[in-house]
Amino acid sequence: MSYAHPESIVETEWVAQHLNDPGVRIIESDEDPLLYAMGHIPGAVQVDWFTTLQHPLRRDFITKEQFEEVCSSLGIANDTTLVFYGDKSNWFACYALWLFQYYGHQNAKIMNGGRLKWEQEKRPLTKDVPSYPRTTYKAKEPDKSIRAFRDEVLTQSNERKPLVDVRSPKEYTGELLHMPNYPQEGATRGGHIPGAVNIPWAMAVNETDSTFKPAEELRALYEGQGIKPDEKVIAYCRIGERSSLTWFVLKYLLGYPNVKNYDGSWTEWGNLVDAPIEK
């Protein structure tokens, strides 16, 4: 069994051979925003989940117009092939890819293994920040078929349809918010959305080199917990970053037709008045 959409990932060697390909833009998106400055793949640009992609005022993403400006300033054209990579097993690379698809950029891939594998293979890193000729990028209207909002999540929970909580087991049980000396994590209640199964995101990647696990292992992992392709699946975590990776795995590596990421995630649900919670 191979991945459902093998073209959605590329290996580090492919990237190494396309460093100067004008039709390809390599984009680093990290959990730690300073990593790019410490050294990145030659020619890669940075898209930071926080300073680049978040709306400066509302809890939302940048607007379509702001997104167009980001792409235009990075020299991304509507037909550019985008390759995302990053730290932490590509969490934020998947998050950025998800948002680019939200605004209609379909031609986007993940570099399997991310920063970790690139570094392990002793491939070159540079501090030089490239600049590319400005483009005039035209985004599409947001694709809400890949993004879940709270009302839809509530319906999904009430109907006991598939919900995947990809946080660590202690976050799922609500134990973590009660740990002594643990800082306020932005949610007033602990636990999970009723009906959600707990499949921590990390189970989808190999710990040694951050690459994705083989298709058959992934299928066994999700189907074994009742997460099957025949129904709409909603994934969530704390702010939607770890669940972007699970969204990517379900949608592109396993080919589930209808998968949504709930970016409100626990920092919304755990604060939402009257929202049902299980422990």
């Binding site: 730690d32 925003p33 300073l34 400055a37 410490m38 300073t51 730290d87 643990y182 800082p183 994590e185």
Partner: protein, 145 residues
């Protein structure tokens, strides 16, 4: 209550910076992250962990002859932001007496306006590193029997 002078200087500097300058300065701090002294290598079990950070962070404090504390830190290079924030605290507090360290308010960094450059969770980590530096200062200050 005044902050220790070196820490106050850093806070004032950041308060006056644009978002880009803050990020550049954090990078500069991360690049000057001090190496771990030989005797603390592989000594995490003797060090103070900081579980508030998403990164493994371990601290160690050594008291000098004049009573001041010098902090040593074990933080992986894959986490330059945490390294940068920890270096700010070490630069601002190294050499201070335990009581001076304990007098730093937990929210001393608010005037730095770091939230425009880094996420809230990282600020929790920053506050966590300070809280554990205070733990170390408290332990060192305690009378020894």
């Amino acid at each position: 209550m005044n902050l220790p002078p070196k820490l106050q200087e850093i806070v004032d500097d950041f308060a006056a910076m644009s978002r880009e300058e803050k990020l550049e300065t954090l990078i500069a701090y991360a690049e000057t992250f001090p190496p771990l002294p030989e005797h603390l290598k592989n000594a995490r079990s003797q060090m103070e962990p900081v579980p508030e950070c998403m990164t493994p962070v371990f601290l160690f404090g050594e008291q000098q002859a004049d009573g001041g504390i010098i902090f040593h830190m074990d933080i992986p290079p894959q986490s330059p932001t945490v390294r940068g924030l920890a270096t700010i605290l070490a630069n601002g507090l190294n050499g201070c007496q335990p009581d001076e360290i304990l007098s730093v308010p937990a929210d001393f960094f608010l005037p730095m306006n770091l939230q425009e450059a880094i996420s809230q969770q990282r600020l929790n980590g920053f506050a966590g590193i300070l809280a554990h530096m205070k733990n170390i200062a408290r332990t060192i200050r305690a009378p020894k029997f």
